[in-house]
Homo-oligomer: 652 residues x 2
């Protein structure tokens, strides 16, 4: 004797013996319904709608009469309108006939959410840490089970968790008190279905995690609700290691040459991460102890410095990391202040200089699920390039230098208020107009913003315009003889170009671009171009379908100008897409969905890394790429070009 | 094409393809040969003897010619005599014909050792932590594996360890340095074949562990060589928690009534354990960082106090522990200073007041492997009694009080120099002779030791003699009218007995036994007797084959006197066996052999615990047992006896 039960919208169906609850039936049929209160009829999360009538498609007649009577708990928990619309609590409703059940979105354990930042990404909420409400059995006389054993058996009985589940030592320490606070009602945090990492008395509110993208310069952190998938707060701070060195190599060198170098660097970044977590929690009205899980992404050097791993061999050829695989650590081992039993997941390293941050970009963009070939460019102090589709995935790292981030440019600055971000040069008059961050007006308009310096996208714009207007040649050299007072020689006799006159600035001096600034941009764009071209050639790709620009830089860059400069291989401008901080998005995805962690682990093993600098013709190809495309004054060969550039540099 | 290879003494045999090494052949045939150096021919531990000649039993002719030639490494590693006796290194010797191989004891991976303390126990050395010597592959150009991935693959390739093996975070931190120190030669410590918990550059020397028995009063610790099984050093110290309370209940109360009570108690015991570990290491010429593993046993209260677990519910009915199962923890989580990645194994709790120490006694004595019924009595502040054989196992806990340890006795003291440990009373003259610890002479002999107090075995001896000589009655009351000046009234009018005159002592005062002292011993022995009798009755045991006395007390007690007193059910004195600190032995066994840990885990679930104080006739039975056996003045019933005792106490 059994009845047919069908769950919509999944369409899962099966025969169920009389008297089973709808929740039990759903579990047996693989339909995931939320039931955090352990079938007590309190939380109301397992709400389902009973469809009534005859359903010829299924040959099934469904009726409320086919179910146990509405219980008192349901009457209390469900709203009147819900009861009128045939809503029931799956945990309390028993099957006594054929039924068709609709599981509303909010009752499904695996919810879909959309991340809105940078680019829209849809994700199923399936976090590593889940919350279970437990009602401990009352003990009979002579029941001498330990507190932990009682809790473990309740987790098994009420939530079907495996009996081999373990408990974190710090949780064990407070277990006796917590279990007795709310008459045996306890909220339990379980990591990966296999370790209890937190307990709260009674019906615990909320479960949170933090995704952190630890950049060389900026740390970005996102507080997420692990139950709803919502991003509750976002914060960033300057990486406090900056005081020990602007770039990762100088920090690795600091670690190697100072007695407590690594410890110093580690201490400040952990303090920084703790600071940003505390600020996130405060903004959301929480305390850090309510945070159960953290995901970390970073480049490989920051990976080592933040995890306190010896970095010296990463800083010298052949650039080997201490570990590549993903790490599951306890937050307290790293000194990260969240819940005492809280967890940290570190995404895997791909290759020496291609780090978890790039892995995060990959799981956010999922080129491996695409039939089209994507070229993903993530520009930081290093440029990381990924090329691939559903059939292959390859990556390389390019030493772009910091020019594209606006650093080591004479008037370079971060993308902050007052930074020149757009430049236009009139080809006939050679007059300049610019726009600064914080203002919508061009400098030629009244009340436009005053300039303070040039950010990454501004220097690209400027150099592209200098080239388009003929102020610099295809080789990148200033055309000194042009009739404009913006081209001038400085005290040392070197040519420079005035982008903004002192009166257009907030710093009361002319903002100029030097030949060295142009060269820095040329080197960076050549590195990117050559890296992408090598990947395409090695994997037989003639043309990419899509160019994806990750990172803040990509968001602000003018795509056509990047193409004019030859920053990456040709692609129709409409197929160039900026996706913002995809590394941060990947960290959020890995925080919200454990499958993305597994995906990262699998993909990391499959990405083929190409070390372009080991290619025999690298020098030649790199030299060729330094020139701007469609060179009008054509160089006979790369060596000659290199020599020419060298001469120019000497004579500037 | 294959050859027959037979290994002796196990007799394992099989067909082996030409060119296989003897070590590989042994592994395939399930013969466990030591090979810590990873087949480099350096360590010489895989030494085997080739038997030559014709062996009709096997139809096999064995010859040195059936093997590859002696290598240079073997010539260097083996001694001349060994070579003359056909010893070879199994890792370097290839099979080119039929051979008969003898594996000497010292080359077998599973060695037998004998623990000598207290009682002889034979144990196979099979520790949780094992050492492997690795020769890292040299990397080819473009090999971008992380250091950990390289090591993991070497562990798999050279030692067949599972590829899912993990690495402790603290080990990971120093990995890059250690791997590069000795040209890729690394010694790796692996816990349970599944986690790397230590790395040393080159060929690491020695692997050590410490077994600790954390008693309420005394902490005993044993430093063991995990490779040879040898106990290298033994130390003990007074449990530093004594300053917070003599017994566990007063410490639990301290923890409950002081703001940082538990933290205080935990801090001092962890400091104590660290101190004893440091002293052990110093004695063996080691540093604590060379210790990889620790096993801990204790009663349940000390379990909670040493592990920093909330003890308050253990101290009140129904006496529930926070956890019962065995725990595998990292030493650093507990604050125990050994190797940074070192491990701690905590044996399981049986029931509220029957702790891991009793579990250790059980795995040392193994009643579950015996066809005979054993009664195991472990006397501490609580008495724990185990009854069982291969068919059943039951335990109970008896509130003996500290009298049998010499505490709370007027002149009680620990079993140290000057403690009276033996007493004889001449029945006619009622004259006393005693012997003190530190002297072989009786007090009647010249140059005998001076007394300082009475230890546990001394008080038993004294009370048994008082009863045998009629100075106390079967009810335990002083026979005040006897003609001896040793029986006298004190200032408060209470009767006391002088055991040693002031001039026989080192404290210049008479050492006396009061009626209260006699009562304390009576209560203790009654508790033990009733506990044992209940267990026997409940499990249908009329007579036990063996009584095993564990603990220091058992070692010094006079068995016949214990029988006279009715301390435990009748048993021929020759079947009463004292086994010393069996709890400490159990801790050592669990340290040296992982199977003993699994055994403890299994057995702990099977031991049936009897709460004797819940038995309806407990009060009556207990009262009856307070009297000494063969009562001459027979009491009509227990209630009357109790009343009588009460009156006597009031009137003393």
């Amino acid at each position: 004797m059994s009845y047919q039960v069908i769950f919509q919208p999944s369409g899962r169906r099966g025969q169920v013996p009389p008297g089973k609850s709808l929740l039990e039936a759903a579990r047996e049929l693989g339909v995931d319904i939320e039931a955090p209160c352990g079938s007590a009829g309190i939380c109301g999360k397992c709400k389902v709608k009973i469809e009534t009538g005859f359903f010829p498609k299924f040959g099934l007649e469904s009726s409320l009469q086919h179910l146990s009577l509405l219980t008192e708990e349901e009457q209390q928990t469900l709203m009147e309108e819900e009861i009128a619309e045939n809503y029931r609590l799956a945990c309390l409703t028993k099957v006594w006939g054929d039924v068709l059940v609709f599981v509303p979105e909010e009752s499904r354990a695996a919810k879909q959410v959309v991340l809105e930042e940078g680019t829209r990404r849809s994700i199923t909420v399936n976090p590593a840490v889940r919350k279970y409400l437990i009602h401990l059995e009352s003990r009979s006389l002579g029941d001498s089970r330990g507190d932990w054993e009682l809790l473990r058996e309740s987790l098994w009985r009420e939530h079907n968790l495996p009996s081999e589940i373990t408990v974190d030592y710090f949780v064990l320490r407070k277990l006796p008190i917590v279990l007795r606070e709310e008459e045996g009602q306890v909220t339990v945090w379980v990591w990966q279905g296999r370790e209890v990492i937190g307990v709260e008395p009674g019906h615990g509110e909320g479960l949170y995690g933090v995704a952190v993208d630890v950049g060389t310069t900026t740390v970005a952190a996102y507080l997420c609700n692990l139950e709803t998938g919502k991003v509750e707060a976002t914060k960033s701070l300057m990486n406090p290691q900056v005081r020990y060195g602007e770039d990762v190599l100088s920090r690795i060198s600091y670690a190697g040459t100072n007695p407590d170098g690594l410890a110093d660097l580690n201490k400040v970044i952990i303090e920084g991460i703790n600071g940003v977590i505390a600020a996130l929690a405060a903004e959301a009205g929480l305390i850090p102890q309510q945070i159960a899980d953290v995901t970390l992404v970073f480049n490989t050097a920051m990976h080592h410095l933040a995890l306190n791993l010896e970095p010296q061999f990463l800083g010298q050829s052949p650039f080997l990391p201490a570990v590549k695989e993903a790490l599951d650590l306890k937050a307290r081992e790293l000194g990260i202040n969240i819940s005492p039993g809280g967890r940290v997941h570190v995404l895997p390293v791909e290759a020496g200089f291609v780090g978890p941050d790039n892995m995060a970009v990959i799981i956010a963009e999922e080129p491996y699920n695409s039939p089209h070939t994507k070229l993903i460019i993530d520009i930081g102090t290093n440029g990381e390039i990924v090329l691939g589709n559903q059939d292959f995935l390859a990556s390389t790292s390019c030493a772009t230098g910091p020019a594209l981030e606006g650093a080591q440019i004479t008037f370079g600055m971060r993308a902050a208020e007052g930074a020149i971000e757009r430049v236009r040069i009139e080809p006939r008059t050679l007059e300049v107009e610019f726009r600064v961050i914080g203002s919508d007006l061009w400098s030629s308009e009244s009340n436009s913003g005053k300039a303070r310096g040039i950010c990454g996208s501004g220097i690209i714009d400027a150099v592209a315009e200098l080239f388009s207007s003929g102020i610099i040649s295809a080789s990148g050299r200033f055309n000194k003889d042009l009739p404009t007072n913006r081209l001038r020689k400085n005290a040392a006799g070197k040519t420079e170009f005035v982008l903004a006159w002192a009166e257009e600035t907030a710093i009361n001096q002319d903002i100029i671009i030097t030949q060295g600034d142009v060269r820095a941009v040329q080197l960076a764009k050549a590195a990117l171009y050559v890296g992408a071209k090598y990947l395409m050639e090695k994997f037989g790709v003639d043309e990419v379908h899509e160019v994806i620009l990750a990172g803040a830089f990509g968001t602000y860059i003018d795509r056509e100008k990047a193409l004019i400069m030859g920053m990456f291989p040709d692609c129709p401008p409409e197929n160039i897409r900026a996706v913002g901080n995809a590394a941060g998005d990947g960290a959020k995805l890995a925080l919200l969905n454990i499958d993305k962690r597994n995906e990262a682990g699998e993909i990391a093993k499959k990405v083929k890394f190409l070390e372009t600098t080991l290619e025999p013709d690298f020098q030649t190809r790199f030299a060729e790429a330094i020139a701007f495309p469609h060179a009008k004054d054509g160089f006979p060969n790369a060596q000659e070009l290199l020599n020419k550039i060298k001469e120019e540099s000497d004579d500037e």
